[in-house]
Amino acid sequence: MKPQPVLSVGANAKALRKDAQRERLLLFGLSFPALLIVLLVIVVPVGWLFWLSLFNDAGVLSTYNYSRMLESKSYLRIFKTTFNVSFLTTLICVLIGYPLAYFLSQISRRWAALGLIAVLLPFWTSLLVRTYAWLVVLQRKGLVNQWGIELGWWETPLRLVHNLNGTLIGMVHIMLPFLVLPLYGSMRSIDFDYIKAAANLGANPTKAFWYVFFPLSLPGLLAGITVVFVLCLGFFVTPAVLGGGKVIMVSMKIETLIDLFFNFGTASALGVVLLVLTLGVLFIAHKLVSLDKVLGSGDGV
């Protein structure tokens, strides 16, 4: 709300302005309960963990927990795995999600609504339920192996689960809606007159797509990629269940450190690095597209 003109003229202007200012602060205070629980449950505990990560096992201030990460091969491998899995998941999501979003944006809105239900249904189904479904479908005697052997595609059961394959299949399934939904939204908002103009000026459909449509869809694609990549970095449930202990991601290592060794120092240091990486990716994405779009909180949206 802009200050009303009545506040800037007349004898009471000053008092009125002051009153308006006071009321705004009062209204601002309505956000304090929310702020309080975020401070209590997120900011203070995470800050505390950061503080803990600065001490070594003997309780002396040191960078031991961080330098260990750089020196130890096992920690480096965990970070490498996390990056690889996140990268591959994002890549596969783009490769199959882009055609899906494009398909949905090109058919009539009525059919697209039907398709979107198919995208939203897994989106609102519990992640654990879907991970379990994949475990059942992909196991040795599961549906995929059973059918593949019956159809003669392969002879011995393929190892589809409890390894990287299973992790990637499960994660792509869970992340795909996060890519398709923003991408579809941005594709629908592209003015199709541009593509028509390109066609009118002699571009064949392929050229019109690559030179006009694709560049216009990039902001939506980038927003989707950012969300997927960031969520992958901190992923826990699906790799823990479908990876069978062979795919160790950072978040799983953190859980083990607490659960088995009660080692808050090292776990916190890992968590802090994970947080910094996450914020780093968000920051880079923010430089490329408006972060509001990524987080879906934009003023313009």
Partner: protein
């Protein structure tokens, strides 16, 4: 001219030339939907291996689920926690969304970003932080602790949805009410709230889902009699493939789908009302 030769868009591409796109689109949709729904028929299989299609249909795994005290306790803990999370999150998210939108001071933008941080911080970091703090506060394995943590996780979604609702609402209506003598509180409750109620309801339902589906924080801070259904499922899954979980999954799909259909139905009446 048959369908294949007809242009699919105004760039002279035909439906025939687009066949591959339609095929890929439908395949990816199938990839999304089939594994989500396949546990439903499988849960009615007699066999330990959950055949599809089941050779012998049975409700054996449902009997296992509904007959087990542990699974039932965990289910009720999850439902209770989700209800309490809705009751905590909805009012504070509505207050924050309204306060930040109307006060329009510079700090509001900063506070908004701070309030949606739970969405950006890796959940596992939140989980160990909360676990660490709760150990000192003796809040582990309590409903209060669980609800508090889930409310924070649900806050960003609710806040974003309700803020979006407020942005599409014409604030002048509230000003009219106030110039006619209503207090700010009354103007909000009588004029504004009824008009943004659909985003508030959507925010509340999202909060329910966030809490009901949450695994990682519950894994750390709940246990024993306060174990949530997702925590018990996760621990069971790590050890072996228990077919009982197929029946639990079906029930969970039923619950979340009901909640989302509710959101859809309530959201629809908005358009009719306008």
């Amino acid at each position: 001219m048959n369908w294949f030769q007809r242009p699919a868009s105004e760039t002279q591409i035909t439906h025939g030339g687009r066949l591959w796109l339609y095929a890929v689109g439908v395949l990816v949709l199938a990839f999304l939907i089939i594994p989500t729904l396949i546990v439903i028929p499988m849960s009615f299989s007699e066999s330990q291996y959950l055949e599809f299609p089941p050779r012998v249909w049975a409700v054996r795994w449902y009997e296992n689920y509904f007959g087990s005290v542990e699974w039932m306790t965990a289910t009720w803990v999850s439902i209770k926690a989700a209800f309490w999370t809705v009751l905590v999150t909805t009012p504070i998210a509505t207050m924050a969304a309204y306060g930040l939108y109307v006060s329009n001071i510079r700090a509001a933008r900063l506070v908004f970003v701070l309030l949606i941080t739970p969405m950006m911080v890796p959940v596992v970091l939140i989980a160990i932080g909360v676990f660490f703090a709760y150990t000192r506060l003796k809040l582990n394995n309590t409903m209060l602790g669980l609800v508090l943590a889930h409310s924070v996780l649900a806050l960003p979604m609710a806040l974003i949805v309700i803020s979006a609702g407020l942005r599409s609402y014409d604030m002048n209506q509230e000003r009219v009410a106030r110039s006619l003598g209503a207090s700010r509180m009354k103007a909000f409750l009588v004029v504004t709230l009824p008009q943004i109620r659909f985003s508030v309801i959507t925010g509340a339902l999202l909060a329910f889902i966030v809490s009901f589906d949450e695994v990682i924080v519950a894994l750390f801070i709940s246990g024993g009699d306060m174990s949530t259904i997702t925590r018990s499922m996760f621990l069971a899954l790590r050890d072996q493939i228990d077919p009982t979980i197929a029946s639990i999954s079906t029930v969970m799909i039923l619950i979340t789908t009901t909640v989302f259909l509710l959101a859809q139905v309530l959201g629809k009446s908005k358009k009719v009302g306008k």
